[in-house]
């Protein structure tokens, strides 16, 4: 089973590696996805910054173009020279601005302020249209415009964020500056919506720890200002944060925050770009998100995968058949042959591993049954003479009876082959019938009182060795077939003559007796079949006449380290 084990170990290892890959592989993918999402946010932030820059230029150019209007130029020039009533100039400029910018909200303009060259507000449209006359020259973008610069800024005052563009207004001769125009552009909901449409990410605008506008629900943004403030130092040094993971409600978001330019950078004004983080992938999530397209013929290995599985299983099954099933079948056939008495023991060298061990155990059992000491019975350890002549001085003084119908001796133990045959159901094997069927005290084992030849002992070792056999009977010697299990044959079958059956029995007993003697270290010199048979025949006749039984069965056993033969009367 070596190759089978190796194969299944390999399969197990492969399965383990596959599972490991299934659980570990998503992690690098998750990191890569997170990195890609971070890059996406980086690009979005860069684009947002470019949008802000382009917008600033657009508004600067817009007010510069507005400042070329002749009416505005004249009015501002007059105001700068101090000519004309300020109120009249205010209304003139205001009306003109309204005409030039009829729909401010459509283009996102919150207000436009016209100032003279001293920085005094002449008129404004949008916020505080009625206010004029105050100076705003201190505002840096205004001071720059009055010096000739076109510039932009971002203001975060009064809880509002405004992008500012300013440009000088030149005289008609364009030889001097007569004033400036300042435009204020909305920087809140409109901007976030435009950015989301263009950048494909969610946007939030934060000013002094308050969210001014966002494309996400307000309920999710409670902790956003605080989270961004924690990275204020990073924003100050790098103008933006790296991609941050923020937990908003039950959503995990990836965010990048950057500060607005100008004065707003000092007022904790940030814009934040957010994307929903891709959920971490694990085998279950991947499986649940499988679509029909993933299982299409062109993508999924419908043929090679099952074939591969079949090949792997087939190899495993083949190895199992070669290493397990076939040897088992061979063993079973051997045991069946054993049961049919075709063999006397299993050839354990033909089987390896555990099966060889089973074969060896069976052989050991056979050996055990063959040489086992039979169960105690009345005729146990009684030699044939004791059975035949209770008055013999060498017999056991214990009273015993030859088993009668009432107290039948224990039958001889069935030969191992018969036992095996009964276990395996061989039809030809027969268990020798008990001596008596009326009692339970039937000897099951087959044993013979010890037979003695020249050194043959039928008695127990204490029994006097009888003289040498008489010359063998004049009959042709029986062919001795060296069958190892000859002695295990049962009583002559019904289809043989009784005498022939007895001859076979004598032959079996003789063979077994010789073997037993050899095992016990006794010499078989002078032990011949004729003598042995003659003795058994005589003893058989005596037993039959004494016990009025049909026949007697002889068995070989070891008594006190020596081979002995036991006779058991048989009534049937």
């Amino acid at each position: 089973m070596f190759l089978s084990k190796i194969w299944f170990i390999l399969i197990g290892l492969l399965a383990g590696i596959a599972l490991l890959i299934a659980f570990v592989a998503p992690h690098p993918a998750n990191r890569r996805i997170e990195k890609m999402e971070g890059l996406r946010l980086d690009r979005a932030q860069y684009t947002a910054e470019q949008i802000l820059k382009n917008d600033a230029r657009r508004w600067i150019d817009y007010v510069a173009k507005l400042g070329r209007d002749a009416n505005l130029v004249d009015s501002l020039d007059s105001a700068s020279r101090g000519a004309g009533e300020l109120r009249v100039l205010h209304e003139t400029v205001r009306n003109r601005l309204r005409q030039l910018v009829p729909d401010r909200s459509a283009i996102g303009v919150e207000s436009i302020i016209a100032i003279d060259k001293s920085g005094r507000v002449i008129a404004r449209v949008g916020d505080d249209e009625g206010e004029y006359g105050e100076s705003i020259v201190g505002a840096e973008v205004v001071a720059d415009a009055l010096r000739g610069y076109m510039s932009d800024d971002v203001w975060g005052s009064s809880n509002r964020l405004r992008r500012i563009g300013a440009a000088p207004v030149y005289s008609k001769a364009r030889d001097r500056i007569v004033g400036a125009l300042v435009v204020s552009v909305e920087t809140a909901k409109r901007l976030t919506d435009v950015w989301k449409a263009n950048l494909g990410v969610d946007v939030a605008i934060v000013l002094r720890r308050e969210v001014l506008a966002s494309t996400l629900p307000e309920a999710l943004l409670g902790d956003l200002p605080k989270a961004i403030e924690e990275h204020a130092t990073e924003i100050d040094s790098h103008k933006r944060t790296r991609a941050l993971t923020l937990q908003m409600g039950n959503q995990s978001m990836l965010a990048v925050a950057a500060s607005f330019a100008g004065e707003a950078s000092m007022q904790r004004a940030y814009y934040v770009l957010l994307v929903q983080k891709t959920p971490l992938s694990d085998p279950w999530a991947l499986l649940s998100s499988t679509s029909a397209e993933d299982l299409a013929w062109s993508k999924f290995p419908w043929i090679s995968l099952p074939l591969g599985i079949l090949v792997v299983l087939g190899i495993g099954l083949l190895l199992q058949r070669l290493e397990v099933e076939m040897p088992l079948q061979r063993l079973r056939r051997e045991v069946q042959r054993l049961a049919r008495l075709e063999i006397v023991k299993l050839n354990d060298t033909k089987f390896g591993g555990e099966l060889g061990g089973i074969a060896r155990d069976v052989n050991a059992a056979i050996e055990h049954f063959t040489h086992a000491v039979p169960a105690k019975s009345d005729t146990e350890k009684k030699d044939i003479r004791a059975i035949l002549d209770p008055q013999s001085p060498m017999i056991d003084r214990k009273p015993f009876d030859v088993p009668t119908l009432k107290e039948a001796p224990k039958p001889a133990p069935p030969p191992p082959s018969a036992v095996a045959a009964s276990l395996f159901g061989s039809p030809r094997a027969t268990v020798p019938p008990p001596v008596s069927t009326t009692t339970d005290n039937i000897q099951k084992t087959i044993s013979l009182p010890p037979l003695v030849a020249s050194s043959l002992k039928i008695d127990t070792p204490q029994v006097v060795t009888p003289p040498v056999f008489s010359p063998p009977m004049p009959r042709p010697p029986l062919p001795v077939t060296p069958t190892p299990m000859a002695s295990t044959k049962s009583l002559p079958s019904s289809h043989e003559t009784e005498e022939e059956a007895n001859d076979d029995h004598y032959l079996q007993v003789f063979e077994e007796y010789k073997k037993t003697r050899e095992k016990c270290g006794e010499s078989n010199a002078g032990l011949t079949l004729e003598k042995f048979r003659s003795k058994l025949m005589n003893n058989r006749q005596q037993i039959m006449s004494k016990y009025n039984c049909r026949s007697a069965v002889f068995t070989v056993y070891v008594k006190d380290g020596k081979a002995a033969i036991r006779a058991t009367p048989m009534r049937d």
Partner: protein
């Protein structure tokens, strides 16, 4: 006997003593000079947006608004008493943007704008905590300890007011041409320091003699000076 010649030694003694005294009473020198600021210190903008494009006409020079002040330190001078100073915030700018006061003086911050200003000294809120200054309101703050204080407006961050508290009257505001002048500076050894746009930009040891001192100071923008008392 002639009486004029009898008192002659006494007169000579008195004359000698008087001649020795006169230089002590009139021991002052003139210290003057010019300060050349680098471009980044001359520009009025603290915060820039994305663009700052020059127009078609030549750019007007940045007007000096008194942000640069020269000091003589380490020279013993007659102490002057503290007095109050008013800083008016009008037109989104402070006038003056830099005020030098004697320790113990009171500064009044007046809001002449139509918008509110939230004034505070960051990092030294015990001297001037954050407080909203409504249009037309006045806030008074006393500066008892010498040092440099920067008052910020959180609503309009470009408004930064420098309050320099000193115990010496030896300071001079640099004019538009960069010139400064100490008319009656005592002689002695000390240091000349220049404050501009919210920080010390120059310091040099000087020795003032009876001949006075004429300095031509060129500020190096790459070497910002830490605040030095």
């Amino acid at each position: 006997m002639n009486h004029r010649f009898r008192h002659r030694p006494l007169l000579q003694l008195l004359t000698t003593l008087f001649s020795l005294t006169i230089p002590t009473l009139t021991n002052a020198a003139t210290v003057k000079g010019t300060v050349s600021l680098p471009p980044e210190l001359r520009t009025p903008r603290r915060f820039t947006g994305h663009w700052r494009v020059e127009g078609t006409l030549p750019m007007a020079p940045t007007p000096s608004r008194g942000e640069t002040v020269a000091f003589l330190t380490g020279i013993r001078a007659q102490a002057v008493p503290p007095k109050s100073t008013t800083i008016d915030i009008a037109g989104f700018q402070a006038n003056p943007p830099t005020a030098v006061i004697i320790e113990g003086s009171v500064v009044e911050f007046k809001n002449s704008d139509k918008v509110t200003h939230d004034l505070v000294i960051p990092g030294q809120t015990q001297v001037m905590p954050p407080e909203r200054l409504s249009p037309g309101a006045i806030r008074k703050v006393r500066f008892a300890m010498p040092g440099e204080y920067l008052v910020h407006c959180t609503e309009y961050p470009h408004i930064v007011i420098s309050i320099l508290v000193t115990n010496s009257p030896l300071f001079a505001v640099v004019d538009e041409k960069g010139a400064f002048h100490f008319p009656d500076s005592p002689e002695g050894k000390g240091a000349l320091k220049v404050w501009s746009n919210g920080r010390w930009v120059y310091e040099k040891d000087v020795e003032i003699t009876s001949q006075g001192l004429d300095l031509n100071i060129k500020i190096d923008s790459s070497k910002p000076q830490d605040s030095v008392d």
